[in-house]
């Protein structure tokens, strides 16, 4: 039987309370979000991929667990077997077995192959989303990734948080 979605904000609130931590300040955006209609059909679109599940490629430095605001460029033709995961706040067992569950690279490659999308951009971008400083994300990481999307001339971006 289907049950209502987990309220992570409420559970974090009670977890922090039981640990004696001050309440976590979630990002709250009350204004209508910026909304840009698609400029072309998906089968004519170049698609960007950004994922926050702590994915890196062998040869790259892994993420650290304390407000790491660095990111990794990963070639979108990289073999899935060279992808690795480091993250402190979710069970990474399935993602390590099959990175597509948090980084759907092979999934998107196959959809490009059958022309559901025109193509993937040549790079995907990854970071480790357990960053407790919303200020650092807003002032450093998000603008840097947005800039990469503009430079990569993508038409749409698939964002995959964990």
């Amino acid at each position: 039987m289907s049950r209502p979605p987990v309220d992570y904000i409420e559970r974090t609130r009670s977890q922090y309370q039981s640990l004696g931590y001050p309440p976590y300040q979630w990002v709250e955006n009350k204004l209508a979000p910026p909304f840009v209609p698609l400029s072309k059909p998906l089968h004519e679109s170049r698609v960007g991929l950004i994922a926050s599940g702590g994915i890196y490629r062998v040869g790259q430095m892994a993420f650290h667990f304390k407000d790491d605001v660095s990111y990794r460029e990963i070639d979108t033709d990289a073999p899935m077997s060279e992808l690795r995961i480091s993250h402190f706040a979710y069970d990474t067992a399935d993602a390590r077995r099959d990175p597509n569950v948090v980084f759907p690279l092979q999934t998107l490659r196959e959809l490009a192959h059958v022309s559901r999308i025109r193509e993937l951009a040549s790079k995907a971008y990854t970071f480790m989303g357990g960053i407790y400083s919303a200020r650092k994300v807003r002032s450093l990481l998000a603008p840097a990734l947005a800039d990469r999307m503009v430079r990569d001339e993508v038409d749409v971006v698939v964002l995959v948080p964990v």
């Binding site: 640990l19 209508a32 979000p33 964990v162």
Partner: protein, 131 residues
């Protein structure tokens, strides 16, 4: 894409597709390519068809028949016994996240050696990297 509906509502992105799976499976189940593909096709369809800013499309996939995983999220296993020993166990840290440290956390020691020799191609540090 999202598996955390309450957080996505709060962050309020232009569009979202919600998959009601445990965290760590935003794009599907491990090893289930047909499901991963369906979820992505539905996500792209939401991207294409959402007209109202902030709309969240609920995809109709269910993780398991009884959804019992939802009881355990951020509530690490509690012992059911009532002895003094178990009282001590129940006082263990209820936080199941790993320790926060600025040391890179490699999946394996081999990855660490590979990173040492490769010089971290494609790594972009927006602050000073850890020493």
């Amino acid at each position: 894409m999202t598996s955390a509906l309450s957080i996505t509502r709060s962050v309020n992105p232009p569009r979202a597709a919600f998959v009601d799976f445990p965290l760590g499976h935003t794009a599907g189940k491990a090893g289930d390519k047909p499901l991963q593909r369906k979820i992505m096709i539905d996500t792209l369809s939401a991207l294409d068809s959402i007209q109202v800013p902030g709309d969240i499309r609920h995809l109709s996939y269910q993780w398991s028949d009884d959804d019992s995983w939802k009881d355990r999220v951020m509530r690490p296993a509690k012992t059911t016994a009532t002895t003094t020993e178990s009282t001590a166990a129940s006082k263990q840290n209820p936080d199941d996240r790993l320790e926060r440290t600025t040391e890179p956390q490699y999946q394996s020691p081999a990855d660490q050696r590979a990173a040492m020799s490769a010089g971290c191609p494609g790594c972009v540090f927006l602050e000073s990297p850890p020493a």
